[in-house]
């Protein structure tokens, strides 16, 4: 089974403070730690487990700047066989559609049975690279995938629906699957893995290496152009409780008691 896994190098923001930068269209990147996107991490792990079980290869792909090498190297260190980075200043400003087109132009010449992506990117949250890529490649897809089973030329996948329900669908190979977090437990990078990764080269491709024009990529090739970024409006006026932990605890306990909840 030859697997291509598409990953994104993103800032970790779940527990970080975010500030909007001076352009008003992006967040301040200084001080943020970048790593592989969370659901892509699960996709990578799934790809490696599939390789370990069924044989074949894993190729990691990303669209990003040179900084993204650390994410690709992580993929290699965890068990990917090769890595390709798609980099060009013309790619800046690409939304999911333009990104999917770039990935497509690099992937269509490769042989593969399965493409894995994360379900969503934790930065822009578009939730669509995987299925667009599938459409461009003319292959079926499934999103929100929580379990994958192979039999002959099909995969049976569990898709996560709302309210704790899942559906099982059967999709023909080759297929693109967008993997949801929690599908597995991603492994740590080992020192041996790093050593192997450092011996592998990261292939870098630019706009001239793929058959797309300037108009297909970046803002020109995107569906969405960000006009401004702003702090979300407050739905409820929160009353902040201040003091030492003991004081705060006492106040909260009083509030709970006054509502008759004890």
């Amino acid at each position: 089974m030859d697997v291509i896994v598409c990953v994104k190098h993103v800032p970790e923001t779940a527990e970080a403070e975010i500030k909007i930068d001076s352009t008003g269209k992006a967040v301040e990147k200084i001080g943020l730690v970048f790593d592989i996107n969370e659901s892509d991490d699960y996709a990578l792990e799934e790809a490696i487990r599939i390789k370990e079980k069924l044989g074949g290869t894993v190729t990691a792909l990303t669209v990003g700047s040179g900084d993204a090498d650390s994410t690709l190297r992580k993929c290699l260190a965890r068990g990917a066989d090769q890595a390709i980075r798609l980099t060009d200043v013309k790619f800046n400003g690409s939304d999911s559609y333009a990104t999917a087109k770039i990935l497509h132009s690099a992937i269509k010449g490769l042989s593969f049975d399965l493409i894995l992506t994360g379900a969503l990117a934790s930065d822009d949250g578009y939730t669509m690279v995987g299925p667009i890529l599938a459409e461009l490649l003319g292959i079926p897809h499934a999103t929100m995938v929580k379990n994958i089973e192979f039999s002959d030329d099909v995969v049976k996948v569990n898709r996560e629906l709302e309210g704790g329900v899942e559906e099982i669908v059967e999709v023909k190979l080759p297929v693109a699957l967008s993997v949801q977090t929690g599908i597995n437990e991603p492994r740590y990078v080992s020192i041996l893995g790093i050593k192997k990764a450092m011996r592998k080269e990261i292939k870098v491709l630019g706009l001239v290496d793929i058959d797309l024009s300037e108009n297909d990529v970046g803002e020109a090739g995107s569906w969405i152009v960000i006009e401004k970024m702003f702090v979300p409006p407050v739905e409820k006026q929160t009353e902040f409780i201040k003091g030492t932990p003991e004081e705060v605890a006492a106040k909260i306990a009083e509030i709970i008691k006054s509502r008759g909840l004890m």
């Binding site: 990078v189 080992s190 020192i191 050593k195």
Partner: protein, 384 residues
């Protein structure tokens, strides 16, 4: 000349950081500090990923990197938690180092791989109740009888002694030679050897997940094949060994300082007094700036000493400079971190007091700061 870690070293740092930040949780750190127990599971996990065998050659299931890469790992572990970090990084201390240099192929094959893989723990017994900094004479003696050596004596402050599967022990093999240090040899022996007994020392000030013990040897019989390297070379082997391993102690100190600094820095940004975060007050912010400078300087010295070693140009002065400076920095920075936290800093739950308690050991073990200064001045006298 360049002052940056290379890409591979950065990857190593990132991998160990990710592992420690997920595994060395503050709760686990408090628990093991309180219980004074060795974190066996963590040690095994770290070992399986290769973090505890950086300097061990690949032929013996190690990672085949240099001392600098090991320092990167040790610093990162101690940054996340000084107690767990020290314990995990010292799980297989010194035995692989001494065997790689002086052991027979048979000894290497037998003892190193289990230590590299985290399946075994080792201890190195040099200090004695009466001999700490001065090891020119050992009261532990080994007397030849046929093809065996019979060892008697006691060792003190031995890291891992109560847990170790394998020991190296420095003994006086020739009690009559002058100077006496020319009559010392190193033996390797297993836990199961009759007459070898370890007792756990409790109530250490810091690095409490790292277990320390006393070792008593009464009529311990070992085969002559258990001598490591040449007979009567033990003292020289020991000095050279410490010149290597004490660089990692400097790395421990740098990590402990960095960890306490990061905590204090975050705290100073959020703690408000007189209506503003305390980092806005120069009394606090200048402390933090000083701490950052000291840590960076200590790290530079440590990396330089490690780099020299990896170049095959071991410099005892560089090693001692790194250790004495990093140890002091660790004490000062962790002390200031508590000061920045104020009353909270004095509480275990806020962690910085643990960093301070742990930091102290770096000024003591593997050669006290005073002994480092002695080395430095002796080297200077030779060179200038």
């Amino acid at each position: 000349m360049h002052f940056e870690l290379d890409e591979e070293q950065k990857e190593i740092k990132r991998a160990v950081k990710e592992f420690c930040e997920k595994e060395f949780t503050p709760e686990l750190a408090l628990e093991f500090d309180e219980k004074e127990e060795f974190p066996t599971e963590l040690y095994k996990k770290a070992a399986k990923l290769g973090f505890t065998s950086m300097r061990i050659h690949e032929d013996y299931d190690g990672q085949g990197y240099g001392l600098l890469e090991d320092c990167i790992v040790v610093e990162e572990m101690c940054r996340v938690d000084p107690g767990l970090g020290a314990a995990v990084s010292l799980g297989n201390l010194m035995v692989p180092d001494i065997l790689l240099k002086h052991g027979t192929e048979e000894q290497k094959k037998k003892y190193i791989p289990p230590l590299a893989k985290g399946d075994a723990i080792s201890a190195a017994a040099f200090s004695e109740p009466e001999h700490g900094s001065d090891i020119t004479r050992m009261d532990t003696t080994a007397a030849k009888s046929g093809n065996e050596w019979i060892i008697n004596g006691s060792k003190e402050f031995i890291t891992n002694a109560p847990l170790a599967d394998v020991f190296i022990v420095l003994c006086q093999t020739d009690p009559n030679v002058t100077p006496s240090h020319r009559g010392q040899s190193i033996f390797i022996m297993e836990k199961v050897t009759p007459g070898l007994e370890a007792t756990k020392l409790k109530g250490k000030m810091g690095i409490r997940p790292c277990i320390t013990g006393s070792l008593s040897l009464s009529d311990v019989k070992v085969n002559e094949n258990n001598v490591v390297g040449e007979l009567n070379k033990g003292f020289y082997y020991t000095l050279a060994l410490f010149d290597e391993t004490r660089i990692t102690v400097a790395a421990q100190a740098v990590g402990m300082a960095q960890g306490a600094f990061e905590r204090a820095f975050q705290y100073a940004k959020t703690r408000k007094q007189f209506g503003s975060p305390i980092i806005k007050f120069q009394g606090i912010s200048f402390k933090l700036a000083d701490m950052a400078v000291k840590i960076e300087a200590a790290r530079m010295l440590t990396h330089k000493a490690a780099w020299l070693f990896d170049q095959g140009r071991l410099d005892p002065m560089a090693t001692s400079m790194a250790k004495v400076f990093a140890g002091r920095v660790a004490m000062e920075v962790t002390d200031e971190a508590i000061q920045i936290y104020g009353g909270y800093g004095y509480l275990a739950d806020y962690h910085v007091e643990r960093f301070h308690r742990c930091a102290k050991i770096t000024e003591i073990y593997e050669g006290t700061s005073e002994m480092q200064k002695l080395t430095i001045i002796n080297q200077l006298l030779k060179r200038m």
